[in-house]
Structure formats: structure tokens, C-alpha cells
């Protein structure tokens, strides 16, 4: 299922989340275009995960509005669910299931028939490179492979937009790079990728990114433009400088 004709992949205006009297996400506004790789960077506790959870329909906003895939995040959640994939900060896989069983499980959640799951997972395993591991117990996989399996689970229903919350934390340098090749591949296929990371080299690979702190978006632009603005050599410098300015 795709994005509604003429709509952006994600669009939010003044989106806000309060927990009691604490404002975790404070009137943020942004638009993410179809096929874009959008990096969602920020300090710890900035509100990244909270924002993603609102966009994925897991948390009700306290204010503002937003649409995902062209549908309203409050009123039309039923239409959004099948159009997005979500890989959470702690990937939720079943360790005591095999790779293949995990995928069947997630396919089932999204209401796919066994036939659809078979076709779709065959395709995904080929792209992601999990074919030979199908019968393996998930618990026995190295971290880099678990991460790919989690991505695979998030893609089983062929969503138009995928939300990845720190997908590469703790993963080895080679798997990290291979994972980004996959992200590029998804983007080439027209999928929109919304990704958070604390690795600043990965920030360079995003088409556009935002930097958040204390619930507010401090910066939003392409890596190239941001480096220009701060006269910085790399995104690490941009990140440090912008957070300093924003405090």
C-alpha cells in the first residue's frame, strides 16, 4: 500500500507531546518527501522516539497535527498501519523462534496469507541476504543479522514508509555499512526512510536531517547545507556546535 496521491510521506505541524507537566515534544513541524532518507538526530531525551511513536500511532499527541502516508495520525490510524513499518530502538524479535518463523509471525500480524508471506519473504530474504539462515534459531544470530531480520520483519507487508529507531547501535562496522546499502536500496525503490542514529558518519548518508534537543528541532537541512552553515568539516562538528548553540 502506498502513499496517498499528492501527499508527502510525513507531514507534521506543531506536533506536541506532554507527559504531565513535562513537554517531551514541543511544537515540531516538518515534512518528509516520498523516497527521502530523513535522519532524525538529537541529544538523549530530545523526543525522537516519542515523535516516532506518535507517527506510528502508538502514542496520542497532546497537540498539533500530522499525517503519515497522507492520512491523519489521529483520525485515520487504520489506514496508516499497513503503510508503515517500524523497527524499534530495542528490536522486538522472538529469540526462541527461527528466522523464518519470526517473519511468518510478523506477516500474520499484518494479515498476510501464508502464500503472500512466502512470496514476499522470498523476495526480501534475497535482497537482505537472509535466505540461508531461514532455519536458524534467532537467538543464535550475530547482532548484525538480528538487525537485518528486524528490518525484514518491518518490511514484510511492503510498507511505503519505514521508521528505524537507532537500527545500527552496537552493530559491527561492516554490517553497519551493509545496512546503509539496504537503506539506499529501499530509497531507490521509492520507499521513504525515517531513521535515528547516534553515529555521525551515518548522518552524512541522509538526504536531509533534523537535529533535536529538549523537544525542539534546532536545525533541518541537507548535510551539505548544514556543514556549510557551521563551516564544519563533518556532521560530528555540526552536531556538537548546534547543540551548544541550542542550549
Amino acid at each position: 500500500m502506498g502513499i496517498r496521491e499528492g501527499s508527502a510521506a510525513v507531514e507534521v505541524r506543531e506536533l506536541t507531546k506532554r507527559f504531565g507537566d513535562f513537554t517531551a515534544v514541543d511544537r515540531v513541524s516538518f515534512t518528509v518527501g516520498k523516497g527521502e532518507i530523513f535522519g532524525f538526530l538529537g541529544a538523549n531525551g530530545a523526543g525522537k522516539t516519542t515523535t516516532i511513536r506518535m507517527l506510528c500511532g502508538l502514542l496520542a499527541p497532546s497537540g498539533g497535527e500530522g499525517s503519515v502516508a497522507g492520512y491523519d495520525i489521529i483520525g485515520e490510524y487504520g489506514k496508516i498501519k499497513g503503510r508503515i513499518g517500524y523497527m524499534s530502538q530495542k528490536f522486538s524479535l522472538y529469540n526462541d523462534l527461527t528466522v523464518g518463523e519470526n517473519i511468518e509471525f510478523y506477516g500474520g500480524i499484518y494479515g498476510l496469507t501464508p502464500g503472500e508471506i512466502r512470496d514476499r519473504s522470498g523476495e526480501l530474504f534475497a535482497i537482505i541476504g537472509l535466505e540461508e539462515l531461514k532455519g536458524k534459531l534467532t537467538a543464535s544470530l550475530p547482532m548484525g543479522w538480528k538487525q537485518r531480520l528486524a528490518l525484514c520483519a518491518g518490511l514484510i507487508h511492503d510498507p511505503a514508509i519505514i521508521f528505524l529507531d537507532e537500527p545500527t547501535s552496537g552493530v559491527d562496522p561492516l554490517s553497519r555499512r551493509n545496512f546503509w546499502k539496504l537503506i539506499y536500496r529501499l530509497s531507490d525503490m521509492g520507499k521513504t526512510v525515517f531513521v535515528t542514529t547516534h553515529y555521525m558518519d551515518e548522518a552524512e548518508y541522509c538526504h536531509r536531517l533534523s537535529i533535536m534537543k529538549g523537544g525542539r528541532i534546532l536545525e533541518m537541512d541537507s548535510p551539505h547545507a548544514l556543514k556549510g552553515k557551521y563551516g564544519a568539516q563533518n556532521m560530528q562538528e555540526v552536531f556538537l556546535a548546534s547543540l551548544k548553540e541550542g542550549s
Binding site: A43, P142, L174, R177
Partner: protein, 314 residues
Amino acid sequence: MCNSRGEVVLEARNFSRSYGEVKAVREVSFSVLRGEIFGLIGPDGGGKTTLLRSLVSLLSIEKGELFFEGRSVAREPELVRRRIGYMPQRFSLYQDLTVEENLRFFGDLFDVDRKEAEGRIEELYGFSGLKPFSRRRAGALSGGMKQKLALSCMLVHSPRVIVLDEPTFGVDPVSRSEFWQILFRLREGGTTILVSTAYMDEAGLCDRVGLMYGGRILASDAPELLNSRFPRDLYGIRTGQPHLVLDALEESRLCGDCHLFGEGVHLTLEENRSPGEVEACLRERNLGWTFFGPVKPGIEDLFLLLMKGEGHGD
């Protein structure tokens, strides 16, 4: 600072540990000297946690030997547990206690004088930035904030030897550098620190490091010395289109290795190939660059190379 003839505080000799058929640690030998920061650098699943848990006597020892200040960890687990401050990877904070309550609780647990603990807690707030959230339940903190609280809890008391398992996992770049400032201060005070991390850039902050992958320590030395072990000429390209450049080079077969590195790629040349051929290949495809030339290898370059040698790379 690192003293090459310093006293050995922690040591592993030919240590191995398996879980069933999975060999988590394979014949590892290394030692940590008094007053140094020793970093175990490598990804999750590389064996770091098993090694650290064994060193602090939380896992039975299968093969080889482990020592703390010259005494066998297997024979004197009590001593080890009393004398080493250990922060596990999945530290269990009390989710229902507030930030401040957690800090006080761990102060009491380790018999830190209340007054002293208060001062220490203030100091730790300086690094963690958690003061405004002192009355929030730990369960409601963000991923990185939990990690900072866990670390702070362990640092409320001041053991002479500390073992930290991925303390900066998921911690943002600004807080990571502040956290390292704390480790430096502890080292100045004479604390011996064994720390594991998956962030390759933290290797440069340690006195000595071991690169751990597939259960082995693939190389171990001072970080600047390790870097110079990179056996070939390394080139860097800076470009606005790193992925396209990478694809072009992988197809061209001009490179021995070729990897994305932030705003560009790092590569080594195939034998009998010249930098000129790389430039020609990029020009042919209309790919621009702002820099192309030799660069100094870093730990991540070395790690990628060693991984390949292990045959575990995918």
C-alpha cells in the same frame, strides 16, 4: 597514565568460554595495568560481555585462567566482587524509583557516606544532565538517559577498579564526550578502568585497546600503535555522492577494499593499480570529488580489515 612496567590488575590467560555450541570467547589473553584505561573495542556479539562477566566472577570459568591483582578469580570470587565496580550491559535500574532515588539507593547499597554521596551525585548530574529530571521515574527516561543513570549509579561509590560494559551504548555524541571526561578524571585519581564499546572512535581515548571480534582479541596495543599496523596504503575520497562513488569503485575492480566513511570512501588499491586509474574511473562516470589522496588509517579501517581476515565478514 599507562605505565609499561605497571602492576597488572586484571589478567586473562588463554581464556575460553562457550554457551553450548557457541564459542563466545576463544583463547583470549590480555592484561589491564594499574591506572590505565583499557578498551575492549568491538560489536555486540563479539564476546566482550562474556569476557567481562567472567572477569568479575559472574560466570563459571571453563578453560584458561583469570586473575585479579594476582589472585585467581575462580578461587576468590567474593574478593573480586567486593573490590571491582562493575556496570553490566543491561543494568537493572529500579524502574519505579525516581532518578534521585536510584542514585541514593546505590549509594546506600555500597555504603557510601550520605554526605559524600550527595556531593558525588551533584557531580554526576553535571555529566548526565539528569538534574532537571531527578524526580522522574527511571522507567520513563529515554534510552540514552537510562544508560547515563545506570552509569551514574555505579559511579556513586568510588571503587579503585571499574569494569564497564558498553556504558556509552545509545548515548549521544555530546554526552559521550562528557562521559569520557569523567573517565579521565577517575584515571587521574588512580582508578583502573576496563571498558567495552562498539564505538570505534572511542578507541583513541583509551591508553590501550583490544579489538574483539568473533570471540577473539584480534589485535591489542596502544591505539596510535595499532593504527600504524595497517599494512597497505590507504586512500580517501571526499565527495557529495559517497554511495555512487562506492558503487562505481566496487564495479571497477580497481580496489582491494573499499568502504563508506562518512562524507566519502576509504580504499586500498588492487596490486598494479594506480590512483590515476581511480580518478579516470570516476571521471568517466561524471562523479566529482573534493579530495582524493592518501589518508591515515584509523581503528575502524583496521577493524574492517581484520574482520575480513577472520572470514566472518559478510
